[in-house]
């Protein structure tokens, strides 16, 4: 079996923006614009970027919650986009998701037990009720919850416990790939580390593969083997963790890293801060050439004319910058 579990090839997702009541689309939001990357079996790939960079849309396209405009999503070599609905249903079981907000992603009228039994029922994994209840207990134990939690409702749990339920639900169908979309950013600092440790422990125990979507660069460095940096619908840089954080080649990655405050006042006082000018432009009307050029501290004339290709700068380290 191949080493690559998931391959995203030339993924494009455009959202039409409507005109008047009867008018057709007047503009297009280029949410994801020609994105390609691979995720190997058993690894964690971090997908980072600021709001509107297309990281969540990329995740939703992989999950088939969003129909891509073009491109391929190859899961174990099978393109999910062209797969017939029935076959997709079977395969889709093996790709699960953990959402950011454990408040709004759990049904408030269902007990935790019912929430966890649902995927087992829907996917006909365990049709028999008593066996299902046993599996629910097993899932609860796996994520560090107690058996009595099965009878509680989401509002009776803390944020961290709710996120554990979200993780248990994702594990119910025994997936190979889990898309974690900002799984800790809504949690308190003291709880974040608990959830990150749990995700890592489950990964090594169950051989899971993660696509970890987040904006917190410190958390992404901790959990990821490789990191994809996105800006305005495009990939700016891809590298393994160490290379990306120690020798970033793209000026956007460098600016992102320098913007992260470090909890040490002495270090902060002596640190160089590159503060980026301006704001992320609208994806309705992205800048010409390199989409980052209006904010780039080292931009040259050709940056506004030519689109930089994502090219190999060092082995296994790709960047989309003319000047890298």
């Amino acid at each position: 079996m191949s080493d690559v579990l998931l391959e995203v090839r030339n993924l494009v997702k455009h959202f039409p923006v409507g005109g008047g009541m009867f008018g057709g689309p007047v503009a297009t939001v280029r949410a994801v614009d020609d994105v390609s990357f691979t995720v190997r079996r058993g690894e964690t790939v971090g997908l980072v970027g600021e709001s509107g960079c297309g990281k969540t849309t990329t995740g939703r396209c992989i999950l088939q919650l969003e129909r891509p405009t073009s491109g391929q999503i190859l899961f174990e070599g099978t393109d999910l986009i062209t797969l017939p609905a029935e076959e997709l249903r079977v395969l889709r079981r093996r790709i699960q998701v953990i959402f950011q907000d454990p408040f709004s992603s759990l049904n408030p009228r269902m007990t935790i037990g019912q929430i966890l039994a649902e995927p087992l029922k829907v996917h006909r994994i365990i049709p028999e009720k008593t066996a299902r209840a046993e599996k629910v207990q097993e899932l609860l134990a796996q994520v560090g919850l107690l058996s009595q939690h099965a009878d509680r409702y989401p509002h009776q749990l803390s944020g961290g416990q709710r996120q554990r339920v979200g993780i248990a639900r994702a594990l119910a169908t025994e997936p190979s790939l889990i898309i974690c979309d900002e799984p800790v950013s809504a949690l308190d600092v003291s709880i974040q580390a608990q959830i990150i440790n749990l995700l890592e422990e489950l990964q090594s125990r169950l051989g899971l593969t993660y696509l970890f979507i987040a904006h917190d660069l410190s958390v992404v460095r901790h959990i990821s083997d490789r990191v994809v940096v996105m800006y305005l619908g495009k990939i700016a840089e891809v590298a393994d963790r160490t290379a990306l954080y120690e020798s970033p080649v793209h000026p956007y990655t460098r600016a992102l890293l320098s913007a992260v405050p470090i909890p040490d006042p002495k270090l902060e006082a002596s640190r160089e801060h590159t503060v980026l000018r301006g704001e992320v432009p609208s994806p309705l009307n992205p800048p010409s050439g390199c989409v980052f050029h209006p904010r780039c501290p080292i931009a040259e004339p050709r940056c506004s004319a030519e689109i930089p290709l994502l090219r190999e700068i060092h082995p296994e380290h790709r960047g989309a910058c003319h000047l890298a």
Binding site: A193, N197, R241, V260, P261, P263
Partner: protein, 331 residues
């Protein structure tokens, strides 16, 4: 240096369906002229309620300031009439909120929202107020300020709205700004812009600032002194340098250890604080952090540890076992 704002033994509580919540339970801290002080803690620790209490904006009747003093330039704000308090709010103490979209009025122009305070507090006429508004927008880095006056908040991006909030806060030359999670809703690169702007302006204009945040990195970069809160109480109070260099409370130590840091080699495992955040309606009789604490002894469940000094008068900790913690860190 003299205290500009001195909060003494503040107690604010809320009556809820599940009982009375002491959101702020006997808290004392101060802000001196021109400095930046941080209130740090996780959700529900009472940091925002502390700031709202200073502004006397705690939602009544559910919420109530039960006791204490809030001395601003020597006057107790809790004794002022509503009319007098209105002159303090916006004029002398301004507030910046986390979510700029919900704290700006969506149906008033940017210009109107800026000039309103100037006309009321500074008794300025329309024209000079407009001119001042343009100056303020320019000061916070909003391009083409004259044209912007006629626009509405929805025309602005999140970062621009936060700049606008800062302009509103600065409008009447206050001596103190309370900034409640001013950058939490913003992206990292915009967060850096806004914080640099706040720091630069507060320094240039000599405004003192209280930053309320859960982000330890932000505190390290911008605060002179820090108060760490847990379950409605201050558990450690120190200068930023001392707090990070020599934490004296297990909760502070736990917070610092639980976050991954970009400047350190990657660790195989994070060291989280075990357990769940406290339920404020059912706090244990002793130290609220005891159930999650690695340094817990019998006494912790019996009596609330007071804030005390281990030597330096500027560094206080509310832990019975602080000496053991400090010795272990030194060993």
């Amino acid at each position: 240096m003299a205290s500009l704002l001195e909060v003494r033994n503040l107690q604010t509580s809320f009556s809820t369906a599940s009982g009375v919540v002491r959101a702020v339970d006997g808290v004392s801290w101060d802000v001196r002229e021109g400095e930046t002080v941080a209130l740090v803690g996780e959700s529900g620790c009472g940091k925002s309620v502390s700031a709202l209490s200073v502004m006397r904006l705690v939602a009544e009747p559910a919420g109530r300031i039960e006791g204490g003093q809030i001395l601003f330039k020597g006057r107790d704000l809790l004794l002022l009439s509503d009319e007098e308090m209105r002159h303090v709010r916006g004029r002398e103490i301004a507030m910046i909120f986390q979510e700029p979209m919900t704290s700006l009025n969506p149906v008033l122009t940017i210009g109107r929202q800026l000039t309103e305070g100037l006309e009321i507090h500074m008794k300025m006429a329309r024209e000079p107020a407009q001119a001042r508004a343009i100056e303020l927008l320019g000061m916070v880095g909003i391009p083409d300020p004259a044209r912007r006056l006629g626009q509405y908040p929805h025309h602005f991006s999140g970062g621009m709205r936060q700049r606008m909030m800062i302009a509103m806060a600065l409008a009447c030359n206050p001596s103190l700004i309370l900034a409640d999670e001013p950058t939490t809703a913003l992206d990292v690169t915009i967060q850096a812009q806004i914080l640099e702007l706040l720091k630069d302006l507060s320094r240039r204009l000599g405004v003192a600032m209280l930053i309320i945040t859960h982000n330890l990195g932000v505190v390290a970069r911008y605060a002179d002194r820090v108060n760490v809160m847990y379950a409605g109480r201050i558990i450690e109070q120190a200068s930023a340098g001392d707090l990070y260099g020599d934490p004296q409370h297990p909760y502070t130590l736990g917070l610092l250890r639980s976050v991954p840091r970009l400047d350190e080699p990657r660790r195989a495992h994070l060291a989280p604080i075990e357990g769940q955040p406290p339920d404020l309606t059912r706090l244990p009789p002793g130290c609220a952090f005891a159930p999650r604490c690695a340094f817990r002894v019998e006494r912790c469940a019996e009596a609330v540890p007071p804030l005390r000094s281990l030597g330096s008068a500027e560094h206080l900790t509310a832990c019975w076992e602080a000496e053991r913690l400090v010795n272990r860190a030194a060993a």
